[in-house]
Symmetry: C2
Subunit: 306 residues, 2 copies
Amino acid sequence: MAEAKLRIGWIGTGVMGAAMAGHVLAAGHHVAIHTRTRAKAAALLERGASWAETPREAAEGADVAISIVGDPADVQATHLGPAGTLSAARRPRFIIDMTTSRPSLARRIHAEAKARGVGSVDAPVSGGDVGARNATLSIMVGGDEPDVEAVTPLLGLMGAIVVRQGGAGAGQHTKMVNQILIAATMMGVCEGLLYASRAGLDALRVIESVGAGAAGSWAISNLGPRIVRGDFEPGFAVEHFIKDLGIALEEARAMGLDLPALALAARLYERLREAGHGRLGTQSLALLLESMSAASPALATDGGIQ
Amino acid sequence: MAEAKLRIGWIGTGVMGAAMAGHVLAAGHHVAIHTRTRAKAAALLERGASWAETPREAAEGADVAISIVGDPADVQATHLGPAGTLSAARRPRFIIDMTTSRPSLARRIHAEAKARGVGSVDAPVSGGDVGARNATLSIMVGGDEPDVEAVTPLLGLMGAIVVRQGGAGAGQHTKMVNQILIAATMMGVCEGLLYASRAGLDALRVIESVGAGAAGSWAISNLGPRIVRGDFEPGFAVEHFIKDLGIALEEARAMGLDLPALALAARLYERLREAGHGRLGTQSLALLLESMSAASPALATDGGIQ
């Protein structure tokens, strides 16, 4: 499907979406773009994309309508709303939601799409702004096997690892696993580097020792040095991460799961947002931990599991 | 110092120590071994090491006395006790403690050694049984610069990454950072895989998607598949990890640090030991989380930071 020139409807041109749509455009496909703030689509429009006033207009007669928007409410409006993709007169053949969103919503959209003869795939991504720019994202895919097969070459334009994880919603569930891992790892990275700094160690040299062994992670090697340099620019913003952790917690509770580290991370990131750092990168958790230790040494280690 | 044949006193032949002493022996050095259970030294004695009845006897006239024993009390007895290395009539030129132990004890041993004209280096390791066998350990070194320089070729026989992190105790502090990272990451790995399994995903395929991106870690790639297969054999045993986390927590508190993820991990691993799993590998935390979720869905997410 990636070899022929396709008509793509694209909804959402944030940091991730703009870069990803750029790869689709660069492959020669026809891209009709809708996004909330038209200015954010300007560069893509200059490169030959056309403008659509609504998600429906972007999806009108398209082969594939792709969304990567803000939160589940946006996803729902984009596909199921009165001006959504599924309300197009000439419906798209496939819709793909790449937003990190609720697995249950992915299943609902899949059912509504299927009832209209449209294939629906959930395909959230991991790899951040860098992965989006370099088309090295890991794309976690859920949906019916033939549909996923049909859109995989298209997804391959945006990512290096495209894996079908199961039926509708499985991509979103896999992304939740991804965020659970990141949440815990980030706590460790921020606590470990705070310890290193208070112990008078050279934190960059510590990263050299610990990053290559059993304590190694993408986060310590990539975000660790940023923390040491005091660089808290997003990468991935705290307020978006809080949305993801909220979905993960709700889904976990619905499955009867008790995930204490995820719950702790959600509380800490909420406090970080309350401290005014919602737009910083996730690595800014280091700032909260530092302030907690300065203010009240024994606050957070009480309570919880005894 | 590694080119000449050295006289090495070696104290401690657990899983790690036996493999590491084997590399020193293979390089042609003379190794005198003491360990609590003589049977555990049998293979090394067959390969040409000699037996010593006490740490003092192992260190008698040695160039370097190396210890990798159980806990700080063992370290103290090994070097400062009445039959310890520093009580040798012909003292060793250097002592190296490779046990994961208290930074403050490393500084005390350094001071006592220095007062006797002996160089002292703390050099705990990361990389597990595999790293010990393959001599690919990361060795985190603290001590006076000339001493560290003198023993670095010897340490290079056991590890791939040998980095001086600072003065006496800095190796131990760096190892604490390493354990803080592992503690948090392991919680994420176990919670994430539990979520994956309850959501009906193929956990090995999930690891393929999440392991290569921003959620990637040594733990998810190496211990994740063991958890999925139900393989809880140690690697690194829960009871030893609890010792390390206890040291890290004490040191953190002494520095006025509040590290909530470390504290949570320490409580969870303590509960895992209470459940009878102290001798399993650290990845067996998955068993505790599973039982918590089966028994009492909302137990651990209450309390703690609000």
